[in-house]
Symmetry: C2
Subunit: 318 residues, 2 copies
Amino acid sequence: MSQSKLYKKGPLCRLFNIDYPIIQGGMVWVSGGKLAAAVSNAGGLGLIGAGSMKPDLLDHHIAKAQSLTTRPLGVNIPLLYHQVEEQIKVALEKGIRIFFTSAGSPKKYTPLLKDHGCIVVHVTSTPELAAKSEAAGVDAVVAEGFEAGGHNGRAELATMPLIPQVVDAVKIPVIAAGGIGDGRGIAAAFALGASGVQMGTRFLATQESSAHPKFKDLVIHARPEDTRLLLKKLVPVRLLKNAFFEKALQLEEQGADVETLQNLLGKGRAKLGMLEGNLDEGELEIGQISGLVHDLPNVQELMQRLLHEYDQVTNSFA
Amino acid sequence: MSQSKLYKKGPLCRLFNIDYPIIQGGMVWVSGGKLAAAVSNAGGLGLIGAGSMKPDLLDHHIAKAQSLTTRPLGVNIPLLYHQVEEQIKVALEKGIRIFFTSAGSPKKYTPLLKDHGCIVVHVTSTPELAAKSEAAGVDAVVAEGFEAGGHNGRAELATMPLIPQVVDAVKIPVIAAGGIGDGRGIAAAFALGASGVQMGTRFLATQESSAHPKFKDLVIHARPEDTRLLLKKLVPVRLLKNAFFEKALQLEEQGADVETLQNLLGKGRAKLGMLEGNLDEGELEIGQISGLVHDLPNVQELMQRLLHEYDQVTNSFA
């Protein structure tokens, strides 16, 4: 097989020292060490999703990933939990030098991480936040659209209009995220001016992800309209339809206040649903592209398929 | 200048007998005869947006467009107003043979229109509705994402994940709409599998559109996050921030019921805002791509720019 046109394409491959500008998004309870290592071994960039993990669990996942690959690995650290500094400390001690930060200000930890020689990428949802991230010294931004799974921005900008607006707002490389599930989406992201993609939902539906098998099964049978951005008065999050989803939707349509929504959400619902497989009461974070995802390949097979599709699509433009 | 790669590209150019697969979306009070004729003269397909127009006003706009061009012209007829049948009758009598229908069932008027030898395209927002439209006998579908201006679907599927899912669900050509404002967006739509694009907001911000000059000025100065999908309990509609928008948003967050929202909306607000230029009290329908639109070219200039950008982007894939 000849080399894919994505091989060493663009600035992200140099920045991260990877073969293909395809990044597996950090997903709480889903992208542990096993998935991240598989993606990095396949030539992309695997990210361990630190989410609300306690530092010792993060330490465990990093060690596991490092036992499975010698290629570059990163962590995604959402800045909204109280143990952020301990998570960063653990990752640095383990030798991680690629940090994706999200859900907070890029000003807070970028200087510290740059002082440690790290590559820092911040996840943004508006051109304004992307420009602020660039000013804070990050090396690249993820521009993530409304259609993405899990935590989401308040501006509700979808990927198609978001990417070119972010590309016009910054000089650093832009990684497109949200609604990308195959080689068509990757080619579209490049057409919009992105230098690479971050994919979550598609990597969740692989053999190596740590999502519960029953959750994976639900995802690959989901209909296109089965997700919704909910809990907008808390941190907006895109969820797959289930009993918990219906309760949240109903409360939201009735104009429920923050306290009521917080009481409904409680604690540990994401772990309950995505890792432990309680499909009724758990919080099932997933993107709109789930309607396009119908199988559970292993990561190596998936990566080869993505490269092949990308080449097919872009050859048709010649 | 050499021929653009979009010249006679794909099945839509044959279907409509046009030069470029670029369609100007029907926009109530904005896409009258003047704009539609300008787009058709530039080699795209201009659509007169019938919206809530009385039949004699629609008759006037069709006559005007026909006095300005001999190229193909279409009308967009939303199926949610009571005078739909009279609008169709007027358009047929005037010789219109390209109908875009939206906001209703594709089963209702497609047989009648096909009996009159028309080309029928239905605007859809889910793969399921696209498949139903194909089964109803339409010639093509528009797949319009959450980021589009004006009336919108309830599933909130964004363009990036929507297009490939619709392409996989039907055999007829798919026209991508929502969040497309330049040649990058057009190339992205083709990468996703679409056969062409429908653009609204970008054509609103031209010399020939009948949007009020003050509204056009607001659009080209809008920030990326200045629109929102509102009035979800009525017909969801994407609006630009103004005093009316803030009132609607506040009521919606309080869980207002249908009657309260209907009383707020009243009648004639779209005309008040978009045609008459009351920027505070009017309903200003616009898409998320408004953040990317910064000028008011004439349609011929805009079309040349789009073709040039498309060629640049797709040449970079070679």
